[in-house]
Symmetry: C2
Amino acid sequence: MKAEIIAVGTELLLGQIVNTNARYLSQGLAALGIDVFFQTVVGDNDARIRQAIETARSRADLLLFTGGLGPTMDDLTKDVLAGYLGRRILIHEPTMEAMERFFASRGSHMVESNRRQANWIEGSEPLENEAGLAVGNALEQDGTRYILLPGPPKEMVPMFEGPATRWLLAEIGAGAPLHSRILRFAGIGESRLEHELIDLIESQSDPTIAPYAKEGEVAIRLSSKSADEAQALDRIERMAQRIRERLGAHIYAEEDISLEEAVLRRLRTRRMRVSVAESCTGGLLAELITGIPGSSGEFLGGIVTYTNTMKHKLLGIPLAQLDGPDAPGAVSASTAALMAQRVAETTGSDWGVSVTGVAGPGSSEGKPVGLVYIGIARKGGEVQTHELNAGGNRDMVRIRAAKHALYRLWLALAE
Amino acid sequence: MKAEIIAVGTELLLGQIVNTNARYLSQGLAALGIDVFFQTVVGDNDARIRQAIETARSRADLLLFTGGLGPTMDDLTKDVLAGYLGRRILIHEPTMEAMERFFASRGSHMVESNRRQANWIEGSEPLENEAGLAVGNALEQDGTRYILLPGPPKEMVPMFEGPATRWLLAEIGAGAPLHSRILRFAGIGESRLEHELIDLIESQSDPTIAPYAKEGEVAIRLSSKSADEAQALDRIERMAQRIRERLGAHIYAEEDISLEEAVLRRLRTRRMRVSVAESCTGGLLAELITGIPGSSGEFLGGIVTYTNTMKHKLLGIPLAQLDGPDAPGAVSASTAALMAQRVAETTGSDWGVSVTGVAGPGSSEGKPVGLVYIGIARKGGEVQTHELNAGGNRDMVRIRAAKHALYRLWLALAE
């Protein structure tokens, strides 16, 4: 089955919002074994929505709409599709009753325009909206299937995952579902990963191997389409094993979690806590860790020292270490080691992690942009340091440095 | 002029990445006075890219492609368009020479596939790629204009803003150029901003008023299309003045800079320095500030205290203030005040800024998610605190809290 996703909304064409729905629905359809060949965005305009429907019908069997189901006169999707298919718009009574209850429970009166959210294309399957008011629709006509979902992600996602998926599975039933597994990597860049696996990637058939980079990390999705689940899972596992043999030390998870989440899990298992001392990452490492809900159990604190004076004042690094003709300087392995040790001592953490480097745009201490030192200190124990040459602009150097520090901590936690 | 944005890349159809390029280019074209009526996403497939070109040609005068200019056999955009237009693919010699220099400077040899990045559609205008290797193309044929940009945003953005915009302005020159000004707001949400300006927004004609939200901030773009520059600027200024009269206290810049940049500029002018103490933002405030190149002149350091013990150890907050049946607790105005004062003292900064609150998902100390206190302390002087009720999920609470702290510091720096 070939699908086209049609997002309706002038705000998308003006660039006021990003079309995250298209991405979400593409992933969701892939998981159901449905190929998406086109995504289209069209504004709140009768003629152009009709044009989009005609074009999509000529090249897809399933048209998945998102947006344009709301209460305003700009919300046209149902009206235009009903007109195109020669069907009437009816009122979906259960939705209308639910809306009346909703407004009554808030002690307010339902304004007339809200009635539009109960509009329903004659003969279609209503799709319940558990997180909002507008009812969705699903129907088939002349061999083409149509699904209408709301635009706000918090309404669209549950409607897609619930009633829309149930309707689709009932319609396409016999098709081969897609099975997939994700492998997440750390401490390796996208190009080296591709280089190491190029023979597998180039000869891929089943499972398919899709590497992708996101937010300073690299992942691979292995997918197999088969009605025989055991066979598909076996094929995926055999390919995963071939990849593990080559790059196992870099695989930090076989599920869709971030590296900071993986690090927190290892800390939790070992009942240990960490603190960080940052220079060039300027708080990013702490921010990544504390972005995970519940991190306060394993993360104690962070110290951002953006000048030599602060490294001295807040972490007690001797000034002679930092400044002077023969000093190692702030960007050095020995300073990274001291920062990691001192932050562990000051906070009383089991682990101290430090990052110091040159984020750019200019060089520092005569050292090049991208040179970064990571320190990993064990309370009262040894400290290890790592040198990294991170490419890219200031933002890239910072994210790569922070992720590399997490990777080194993750490795140390395995020992 | 009617434009269509065509993003080429199977990774978009698989939902592996979000189409942020379409949003960026939609905004950029709107700023040039060009209407975008459709956005299309198509995979790395010869026949379907050709189909997308045909469809777009039937409904737009300008086709803006992004993606598919890279070195691999999957990168097809130039080949397919050249074939469609009956033109040859040539080698763009300056790009080839630049690539040879690039690989030589890294001491590596250029692999053959890289040559594809110097491909160039006969008779087109080459668009220089200052951040990557693949050259872009711009051309006109039979009344339709085509622009080919790379997919990676870090290459696409400078190529669009530089050579592609210059080419477009030269091509559409005779039309009325668009003049625009951006107003950037802090301390106010998108819905309240729209509420305050709804009469102006609903009756807009010239200049147009486009509010948009981005990364925890709100901005408005005023645009006027006129051959008479003085008249356009005058109209924009009069509208800006009406907005200033209503919301002047929230306008932190009339140019496209972030709030942290505006804060750093005020600090620089006053030759002052700041440090931060963070709880619920977990390093995000420091990370935002240090994201600006050159911030080390004004930013000394940050202390992230994620537990009560750390607030005591690193900032010297009395434990009786934080814990106990009658204690104000970590999330309180008095704790925010102490954190701000203590970080200013400890670091010797002119200003200390603190954030403490409940980022969620769960409540804390019996206080609701989204409740945040900000402290702003002047060295040896008074301290002010502010309560904020930030809506949204954990990420939204964190970014709103950090931006609100910056806003309060920005206000304090004006006094």
